[in-house]
C-alpha cells in the first residue's frame, strides 16, 4: 500500500522566496474490455510518486520520482530547486514572488470501494449476455473504466489538501449494418463520480437505457446522410457541453490567452446571444454537486466557480496563480495536475452553459428544416474558437417534427459567431464526465449544457 501522507513540517523545507508545492499522488486504473462476449483487455494499474515545484525569480523548476517516502520528497525538492536555478541563471527574469493566497486546509473525505476485477467482469458478463439477445447487432463492446486520483499536497504558503476523485464508467458500443452492408455504431457512457457499486449494482437496471441506445442504432441503420452546408440545428446537451468546453473554455484559459487565443481581445465584449451564460463550476452547479467536484487545486488554492460568459458578455478567464497575478485577477482553483509527474496547468473543472426557459419540444417544433444533434464521439477546437465536433446520433427536423436519423457527420463553426445565433435555450442541463481533456496532460473534466437552437455548418453529402 502507498501511504500518501507528507510528513508534518515538510512544507517548511520549501525555501521562502521560492514558493512552491510538494505533492504525493496515487492514480489507479481498472479496465476491462469485453468484445462480443470475450475479455480482450483485463488490466489493473497503479502509478504513484512525489513531485516538487518551486519558483525562483519567475522561473519554475519541477522534479518527480516514482517513490513516496521522505527521502524522495527531499530529493525532488532539491532537483526542482536546481532546475529553477538553472533556468533563472539563463533567463534572469528578476520577477517578484507570487502573491500569497489564503491558507486552505481541505480534506473532503471522499470514500469509495475499489472493487476486485471479478466484480466488474461478472456484471459485464450478465449485461453482455442480455445484449447479445438484442436483434440485428453485428457486434458489441462493453468497457468498464474506473480510475481514481488521490493526492496529499502541501505548499510553501501553508496550504494543505487531501483530495480524492474516483470515477467509474461503463461504455456500451453497439454495431449493426445498413442495408448496404456498411457498419454503423452507437456508444453511450454510463456512470460518474464514485466507485463501481455507487453506479452499478444490478445489470437489469441498465437494460432500459441500453434498449433506448439499441433503438437509436436501429433508426441509424435506416439513416440518411445529412445535407452538407449551413443550417439551423438544435445542439443537444452533450454537444452544447462540448461546445462550452472545447470551443469557449480552452480559449479563455489564461495560458492560451497569453499564447494569442481569441479570448484575449474579447474580454468584456459581447461574444454570444444575451441568452447565453457559461461558468466553470468548482464544487456545485445549479444547486447540486458538480459531476467531478474540485475542492482545492494543485497550487493550494481553494476552488471557487469561474464565471466565463454573463448574458452574452465574456467576463473572465481561468487562471493559475502566475497568470492571475499577470492579469490582476483572483486564482479560483484551476491549476491541476494529472499524475504525480505532471506540473499544475490551467484546466477546466465542470464547464457548462446555463439552462434557459424553453421546453425542448417547443424548440423542435420551431424548426422548419434542420437537425437535432444528440451524441458526439469527438470534439476539437482551435484557439480561434473554430470548432469541429463529430456527431454520432442526430435526426432530421422537417416542419417542426423529428424525421429520419442521420449517419455519422461533423459540425463546425466559430464559437463566438455561432453563439450569437443562439435564439432558444432549453430548461434542462445534460452533464457528461466520462472523457479526458487533453492539454499536454490528460485531465478528468465535467462538461454540460442545455439544448441550444443555433446556425452552424454540417458535413455530409
Amino acid at each position: 500500500m502507498v501511504d500518501l501522507q507528507i510528513p508534518r513540517g515538510f512544507s517548511s523545507l520549501i525555501p521562502s522566496g521560492e514558493q512552491g508545492e510538494l505533492r504525493a499522488q496515487l492514480n489507479r486504473d481498472r479496465r476491462i474490455v469485453l468484445l462480443s462476449g470475450t475479455p480482450v483487455v483485463n488490466l489493473r494499474s497503479e502509478v504513484s510518486g512525489v513531485s516538487a515545484r518551486v519558483c525562483r525569480g519567475g522561473s519554475y523548476g519541477f522534479a518527480s520520482m516514482p517513490e513516496v517516502n521522505e527521502e524522495a520528497l527531499r530529493r525532488v525538492l532539491k532537483s526542482a530547486e536546481e532546475n529553477a536555478a538553472v533556468l533563472d541563471r539563463h533567463l534572469n527574469k528578476g520577477k517578484a514572488a507570487r502573491k500569497a493566497v489564503p491558507r486552505a486546509l481541505i480534506a473532503p473525505g471522499t470514500s469509495w470501494t475499489d472493487a476486485e476485477q471479478k466484480v466488474y467482469l461478472d456484471y459485464l458478463r450478465e449485461l453482455d449476455a442480455w445484449i447479445a439477445g438484442l436483434p440485428h447487432l453485428t457486434s458489441r463492446r462493453l468497457v468498464v473504466a474506473c480510475d481514481s486520483t488521490e493526492k496529499h499536497l502541501v505548499t510553501g504558503d501553508g496550504a494543505e489538501a487531501h483530495t480524492a476523485v474516483p470515477r467509474c464508467y461503463l461504455y456500451v458500443d453497439l454495431n449493426a449494418e445498413t442495408k448496404n452492408g456498411d457498419a454503423v455504431e452507437l456508444s453511450k457512457a454510463f456512470g460518474g463520480f464514485g466507485g463501481f457499486d455507487d453506479w452499478f449494482r444490478d445489470p437489469a437496471e441498465l437494460r432500459g437505457q441500453v434498449e433506448k441506445l439499441h433503438l437509436q442504432l436501429m433508426e441509424k441503420r435506416e439513416g440518411v446522410y445529412a445535407k452538407a452546408g449551413k443550417c439551423t440545428c438544435i445542439l443537444g446537451g452533450e454537444l452544447s457541453g462540448m461546445l462550452a468546453h472545447e470551443a469557449v473554455g480552452h480559449t479563455v484559459e489564461a495560458d492560451l490567452v497569453i499564447g494569442g487565443s481569441v479570448g484575449g481581445p474579447n474580454l468584456g465584449k459581447v461574444v454570444a446571444s444575451p441568452l447565453v451564460n457559461m461558468t466553470d463550476f468548482a464544487r456545485e452547479a445549479f444547486g447540486e454537486t458538480a459531476p467531478l467536484p474540485v475542492y482545492c487545486d494543485d497550487e493550494g488554492v481553494e476552488a471557487q466557480d469561474a464565471p466565463l460568459i454573463r448574458d452574452g458578455v465574456l467576463v473572465g478567464f481561468m487562471h493559475d496563480r502566475e497568470s492571475a497575478q499577470r492579469f490582476g485577477a483572483l486564482p479560483l482553483g484551476n491549476a491541476r495536475a494529472y499524475s504525480f509527474s505532471d506540473e499544475p496547468l490551467i484546466r477546466m473543472r465542470n464547464t457548462a452553459v446555463h439552462p434557459g426557459k424553453d421546453k425542448l419540444e417547443d424548440i423542435i417544433a420551431s424548426v422548419e428544416d434542420g437537425y437535432y444533434l444528440l451524441n458526439t464521439n469527438n470534439g476539437q477546437a482551435d484557439t480561434t474558437g473554430e470548432f469541429m465536433f463529430g456527431v454520432t446520433l442526430g435526426y432530421e427536423i422537417k416542419k417542426g417534427k423529428l424525421g429520419q436519423a442521420i449517419l455519422d457527420t461533423t459540425i463546425s463553426g466559430v464559437a463566438f459567431d455561432m453563439l450569437k445565433t443562439v435564439d432558444m435555450v432549453s430548461d434542462k442541463v445534460v452533464w457528461e464526465s466520462s472523457g479526458y481533456c487533453g492539454k499536454k496532460q490528460p485531465m478528468a473534466v465535467g462538461l454540460g449544457g442545455p439544448a441550444l437552437r443555433c446556425r452552424l455548418t454540417i458535413g455530409g453529402r
Binding site: L35, S36, T38, P39, V40, N42, L43, R44, V47, S48, G49, G61, F62, A63, S64, P66, N83, A84, V86, L87, H90, L91, Q117, T138, S139, R141, N175, A183, V184, A228, G229, K230, L256, I258, G259, G260, S261, V262, P265, E343, T376, N377, N378, Q380, D382, T383, T384, E386, M388, G390, V391, T392, D408, T409, T410, S412, V414, K440, G459, G460
Partner: protein
C-alpha cells in the same frame, strides 16, 4: 540494467510460482529532462524519473495484465498476485499466447546522456529564429526534451530483450497573428537522435511556420464541390493510422467491421500506393525492436502497389481470426518518394485544397469521415491561393486510398514516419 533484470526475473518467477503457464514481464525506467516555453518565453524546467513494471500472465487460457511504477519486492509480489487474480477472473480463450520460439536481442539507439545546456541553446535558437524570421507568429507552447529509456523484456518461452534508447524531441504549437486577427493553431512534433541539426531544419517546421503567416490572408469557402486534396505528411500519417485501425486492427477484424476483412492479397488502394510498416528503418527514432508477445520486430509491407499485403494483427488477433499476424506492432509508416515535386503536384490540381491539418470526428467503421480542413489553402488552376477557413472535407477513407493522384518526390522524416505529400482525388469540399 542489472536492477531491471533482477526485477524482471523476480516478477517472472513470482508469476510462475503463482501458477502462470505463460507469462511476460517488461520493466522500464526513464529519465526525462524537459524545457517549456509559453507565449514565446521559457517558463519551466522539469526533470522526471519514472519506471514501470508491466506483467502479463496466462493460465488455463485466461489472461491477466497488471502494471505498477514500483520495483521493490513488495510491489513485485503484490502486482504478480494482482495479475493472477485478474487472469483468474477472465474467461478462457485459447487465442492468448506468446511467441512459441525464444528470441533474443540487445538494442541501443540515440544519445544516451542529455546535454541540458545544448538543449537550452537549441531551444533558444529556435525561439530566436522564429521571432526574427516569422514576426507574425506567436509561439503558444514549446516543449523540448531528452528522454532516456532502459527496458528489459523476459518471458517464459525464453525470449529476452534489452533496449536502451535516448532521443531528443521538439513539440511546437504556434499561430499567426496580425492585430486581433489570428490563424488556427499549427502543431509540429519531431523526434531526433541528437542535437546536431537546428530544430528549425527538422521535419516540416520551417514550412509550417511559413504557412502560419500565409494563413493570415484567408477567405471563407462558399458552396459545395468535388475537388482534389493535397495532404501534408502529418495528415497523411493520421489517415494511414486511422485506415490501419479501422480496416486492419484486431478489433476491426474480430468484430468483422472491416471493409477489407476478405481482401488480403487483393488490390484495396491505388497501384501507386506502397506503405511499409517499418519501425526498424534507420530514419525512425526509437521504433519498437520487439513485440509484447515476445517476437523480434521486423519491417513489413502493409500496402504494396495498392495490394493489401498484411493486416496489423497481434498474435492474439491472428489466432482469433485465423489470419497471419503482423511482423511488428509499432506501424511507423515509410513510403518511397514519388516522381513529381511538391510544386508540380500543386500545378496538377485544377480545383482543390492543400490540407495541413484535419479536425474531424472519428471516421465510421466503414471509413466515412467529415471534418474541418485546417491550415489549408485553396488551389485553383494549378496555383496555390489564399488560406481557407470554415471549410469542411468529407469522403470515405477506403475510397480515398483508391484515388491517389500523385506522390511528392520530397519526403519528410518526423522520427515516427517517413512520408511524402499525396494528392487524393474527388473529395467533397464544402463551405458555409
Amino acid at each position: 540494467m542489472d536492477k531491471l533484470f533482477a526485477a524482471a526475473q523476480a516478477a517472472l518467477d513470482a508469476l510462475t510460482a503463482l501458477g502462470a503457464e505463460k507469462a511476460s514481464v517488461r520493466v522500464q525506467d526513464s529519465e526525462t529532462l524537459e524545457l517549456n516555453a509559453l507565449g514565446g518565453e521559457f517558463t519551466l524546467m522539469r526533470s522526471l524519473l519514472d519506471r514501470e513494471l508491466s506483467l502479463t500472465a496466462i493460465r488455463d487460457g485466461r489472461r491477466g495484465t497488471a502494471k505498477v511504477n514500483r520495483l521493490d519486492a513488495d510491489a513485485i509480489r503484490r502486482t504478480a498476485e494482482d495479475c493472477m487474480a485478474v487472469a483468474a477472473s477472465g474467461e478462457s480463450d485459447p487465442a492468448w499466447d506468446l511467441a512459441p520460439a525464444p528470441e533474443t536481442g540487445d538494442f541501443t539507439s540515440g544519445t544516451l546522456k542529455a546535454d541540458p545546456d545544448r538543449l537550452f541553446e537549441r531551444s533558444k535558437e529556435l525561439l530566436d529564429s522564429i521571432a526574427k524570421a516569422y514576426p507574425h507568429v506567436i509561439v503558444e507552447e514549446l516543449i523540448t526534451e531528452h528522454r532516456l529509456t532502459r527496458e528489459v523484456y523476459l518471458n517464459t518461452a525464453g525470449s529476452r530483450f534489452t533496449d536502451i534508447s535516448g532521443h531528443y524531441s521538439v513539440d511546437l504549437m504556434f499561430s499567426g497573428h496580425a492585430g486581433e486577427q489570428a490563424t488556427s493553431f499549427f502543431g509540429s512534433t519531431v523526434t531526433a537522435p541528437d542535437l546536431d541539426q537546428p530544430f528549425l531544419e527538422l521535419g516540416t517546421l520551417a514550412k509550417d511556420l511559413q504557412s502560419a503567416e500565409r494563413s493570415l490572408d484567408a477567405e471563407t469557402t462558399q458552396g459545395t464541390c468535388m475537388g482534389d486534396i493535397l495532404v501534408h505528411p502529418d495528415l497523411l500519417m493520421e489517415f494511414l493510422e486511422v485506415a490501419a485501425d479501422l480496416f486492419c486492427s484486431d478489433q476491426a477484424l474480430i468484430n468483422g467491421t472491416s471493409p477489407w476483412k476478405d481482401r488480403l492479397g487483393e488490390a484495396v488502394a491505388s497501384p501507386s500506393l506502397s506503405v511499409r510498416a517499418a519501425p526498424l528503418d534507420g530514419r525512425i527514432c526509437g521504433g519498437d525492436k520487439y513485440t509484447g508477445e515476445g517476437f523480434l520486430s521486423r519491417d513489413y509491407d502493409w500496402l504494396k502497389d495498392g495490394r493489401l499485403e498484411s493486416f496489423c494483427l497481434s498474435l492474439y488477433g491472428a489466432n482469433r481470426t485465423g489470419l497471419p499476424r503482423a511482423l511488428n506492432e509499432d506501424f511507423c509508416p515509410v513510403m518511397a518518394p514519388g516522381d513529381k515535386t511538391l510544386e508540380e503536384l500543386i500545378g496538377s490540381i485544377r480545383n482543390g485544397l492543400l490540407v495541413g491539418r484535419f479536425s474531424g470526428g472519428e471516421p465510421s467503421p466503414n471509413g466515412d469521415f467529415s471534418g474541418v480542413a485546417k491550415n489549408s489553402f485553396r488551389i485553383t488552376g494549378g496555383k496555390l491561393g489564399k488560406a481557407v477557413n470554415e471549410t469542411m472535407i468529407s469522403g470515405n477513407l477506403a475510397d480515398m486510398l483508391k484515388n491517389v493522384g500523385g506522390i511528392s518526390a520530397e519526403l519528410v522524416c518526423s522520427g515516427g514516419y517517413v512520408l511524402p505529400w499525396v494528392i487524393f482525388r474527388d473529395v467533397l469540399i464544402s463551405g458555409g
